[in-house]
């Protein structure tokens, strides 16, 4: 019966929660169906168990009866004919429960003595004990009884029949049946009740969650799911969802911030364009002046478009699942190439740009994107290094990881700025007057994340940014296995 204490605590159907007929719903819930199934299986199991007990007891009683009547028959048969009659009379007298059947018939079939009217027709003589129906007759009248009986022919030709009523077995089955009813019905009901209770409890929880979720949908982002401090599936689930909601709330706020930033960054060049056009329309007196004005306006619009393009590209990288197109990227060659492209720019500003990548190392990735990431970092490094400074691109091999490191002698990124620098559109105050959209490091971060690499920005003095490329997992496992 242990089964009914723990009906499965599995899910309830969350469908149709807004249905006002909630009371009837628990019957449709999965929990209740499970409880019903468990109760059914339990009932079948108990019935089979009791059936088996009954069958065993019945078997045992019959075997015992058979043994008793065989022994008695043997003892009576061993007596002389006169003594036999006495023994039979004696036996019938000592049978207040009227379970004994004994009679002796002459060879021609008529009864000599005993409580049987006639020799039972189906009773085989000189056979082992067998079940048969007999008509028992005594002073209180005659009745049909089912007995286990044995018949044997005596040496003088008489037939001795000895039997024992097995209605006892019926009584036992009655008792067993009663026990079954007493045990089974409450167990079954308990199961159903437990199922219904759990189901209703779950429904209530779901309804509670539903109401909170409705509030969240309506815009109340602070709302959280009810959560009790117990280790129970529903609470754990609520805790998980709450964690997700926390994250989403932060993200939504961040997004709103980004929206403002975008609006601001787009508005600035568009305002310039608008003002130029407006002033040009009234003030330009010749074609050249008008062209100058239009050039200014086009520059403003181009800057807005650059911002939009950069944003779209960022979104594209962040959303892409391009790992399918990954190949082996030879970092040492790639870094040389980046250096080669930026060398003239560094030279113009008297910056010493060098690459240290002696070891041929490669990683799995998208070459174009990784090139873009490194180029962006180098671009930034040159931009923020004062004339005459140094920028180094290094390729370093550590345990289980390859590091691309770009260091410069610029002002570096301060402790406080490190987190925010990766935010979209963030430009530190000193950057405000440098050209650029302020999405460079964002893009680097997105590319690095897409590859499963890490970006580490070190505190000054001097700037230092690492792209840490851990070795692919399988080789690490293989290495561990070797050790």
């Amino acid at each position: 019966m242990a089964g009914c204490d723990v009906p499965p605590l599995t899910s309830t159907k969350p469908s149709g929660q807004r249905d006002p007929m909630r009371q009837a719903q628990f019957i449709r819930s999965t929990t209740f169906h499970w409880a019903l199934a468990v109760a059914g299986v339990l009932a079948v199991f108990i019935i089979v168990l009791f059936g088996f007990i009954y069958w065993k007891i019945d078997d045992y009683l019959t075997a015992r009866s058979d043994r008793v009547i065989t022994v008695e028959l043997d003892s009576i048969a061993g007596l002389s004919p006169e003594r036999r009659l006495e023994a039979i009379d004696e036996k019938l007298r000592q049978d207040p429960r009227r379970v004994q059947v004994v009679a002796i018939f002459a060879a021609d079939g008529h009864r000599i003595t005993g409580n049987l009217e006639s020799l039972p027709p189906h009773l085989r003589i000189d056979a082992p004990a067998q079940g048969t129906d007999v008509i028992r007759t005594d002073r209180k009248g005659s009745e049909l009884q089912t007995v286990r009986a044995i018949a044997r022919r005596m040496r003088n030709g008489d037939v001795l029949v000895l039997g024992r009523n097995i209605d006892e077995a019926g009584e036992i089955s009655h008792v067993v049946g009663q026990a079954l009813a007493l045990g089974l019905l409450p167990a079954f009901c308990l199961c159903l009740l437990a199922g219904a209770w759990l189901s209703m409890r779950a429904q209530k929880r779901v309804e509670e969650v539903n109401q909170r979720v409705q509030r969240i949908i309506a815009g109340n982002l602070r709302e959280r799911l009810p959560h009790r401090n117990v280790d129970e599936p529903f609470s754990r689930l609520a805790a998980i969802v709450n964690g997700m909601l926390d994250e989403m709330e932060t993200m939504i706020h961040a997004l709103a911030g980004v929206g403002n930033d975008i609006a601001h960054d787009l508005r600035t060049p568009l305002t310039r364009a608008r003002l130029a056009l407006e002033r040009g329309r009234t003030n330009a007196t010749n074609l050249e002046q008008l062209q100058a004005v239009v050039d200014k306006a086009i520059a403003g619009i181009d800057q807005s478009l650059t911002i939009i393009t950069a944003l779209l590209r960022l979104a594209e990288i962040e959303n892409s699942r391009r790992s399918a197109g990954f190949g082996s990227v030879h970092l040492h060659e790639m870094l040389r190439e980046v250096c080669d492209i930026y060398e003239p720019i560094a030279e113009n500003r008297n910056i010493d740009l060098r690459v240290h990548a002696s070891e041929p190392l490669s990683v799995l990735g998208d070459r174009d994107l990784l090139f873009e990431a490194v180029a962006n970092i180098v671009d930034n490094a040159i931009k923020f290094t004062p004339d005459g400074g140094k920028v180094r691109i290094e390729l370093i091999r550590c345990d289980n990881e390859t590091i691309v490191r770009v260091t410069d002698t610029g002002s570096g990124i301060s402790e406080q700025e490190r987190e925010v620098v990766l935010r979209r559109f963030y430009r530190s105050d000193k950057m405000r007057n440098t050209p650029g959209v302020g999405l460079g490091l964002n893009l680097v971060a997105a590319i690095v994340k897409l590859h499963g690499f890490r970006l580490a920005i070190h505190a000054g003095p001097g700037g230092r940014i690492d792209i840490i490329c851990p070795d692919p997992q399988p080789s690490r496992v293989a290495l561990a296995a070797k050790i």
Binding site: L312, E316, Y342, P344, N348, E372, N376, V437
Partner: protein
């Protein structure tokens, strides 16, 4: 862009006679360009600009009609928008390529995704331009498509006094030997193959440096400045010209 197919790409007759396109105009055999673009205002601007430059322009606003015109008019070049009513731009190109029509095609698209570009080119487009674009950029690319350097076995490029030996990897201007770094050599080679053509910064970035993105710093100008410094020596007539706000041209004469 499928312009450069190897180191031995040498300008053929088309490129070496500078005003080929315009010469054709003179011969009353105008270069025909088919524009398939559904936005009428954009189409109008493009058509007007092309006409100003002496092209004969046909315009279709949808894919099916565009395909018909491409078959009947046999244009010299096509500008095809990616998203079109009736039939997708790439489908039009694919259909034409199946019919062995080799007309150079410039694909226009508002979709800038890198994968999208690749798809556009694989379908048979020869170049790809993302909206919004500058008209100058579009014109430069159309002319580049029309004057694509033909396959050649020549190993020396010549533009005016400038000579580039592709085997020895040496450059000379007249008798003066120009000492070039590999990256400068690559840039000059590309420019000499397309002399007298406007080469925009984006074209140079894509083709010479294989950049798939626009860097924050104006890389092209810095590299071009260095190359110009070497090519146009003191007292020599400048060959590399900066077209303000658009790009660069390598010219034999002044």
């Amino acid at each position: 862009m499928a312009l450069v197919s190897g180191k031995r790409n040498i300008p053929g007759a088309a490129a070496s006679s500078p005003a080929n396109v315009f010469a054709a105009v003179g011969n009353r055999l105008m270069t025909k360009v088919l524009l398939i673009e559904d936005d009428s205002e954009t189409a109008e601007e493009i058509t007007a600009e092309l006409a100003d430059r002496g092209f004969e322009v046909e315009w279709s606003a949808n894919g099916i009609e565009g395909l018909d015109k491409a078959r009947s008019l046999k244009p010299d070049a096509m500008i095809v928008d990616r998203l079109l009513p009736g039939m997708d731009g790439l489908t039009v190109i694919e259909a034409l390529r199946k019919e062995q029509v080799r007309t150079p095609v410039l694909v226009l698209s508002a979709l800038g995704a890198v994968d999208d570009r690749v798809r556009g080119l694989r379908m048979g487009g020869d170049d790809y331009l993302t909206k919004p674009f500058a008209l100058v950029e579009l014109m430069a690319r159309v002319e580049a498509l029309l004057r694509r350097p033909a396959e050649s076995r020549e190993t020396t490029l010549r533009v005016g006094p400038l000579e580039l030996d592709l085997i020895e990897r040496t450059a000379k201007r007249g008798d003066r030997v120009i000492d070039l770094l590999p990256r400068e050599f690559r840039l000059l080679e590309y420019m000499m193959q397309r002399s007298d053509q406007l080469l925009t910064r984006a074209m140079l970035l894509e083709e010479v440096w294989n950049y798939k993105f626009i860097p924050a710093t104006n890389l092209v100008d810095v590299h071009m400045g260095r190359l110009r410094h070497k090519v146009d020596g003191p007292g020599e007539a400048p060959m590399i010209h900066n077209v303000r706000g658009s790009g660069f041209i390598l010219r034999a004469g002044p």
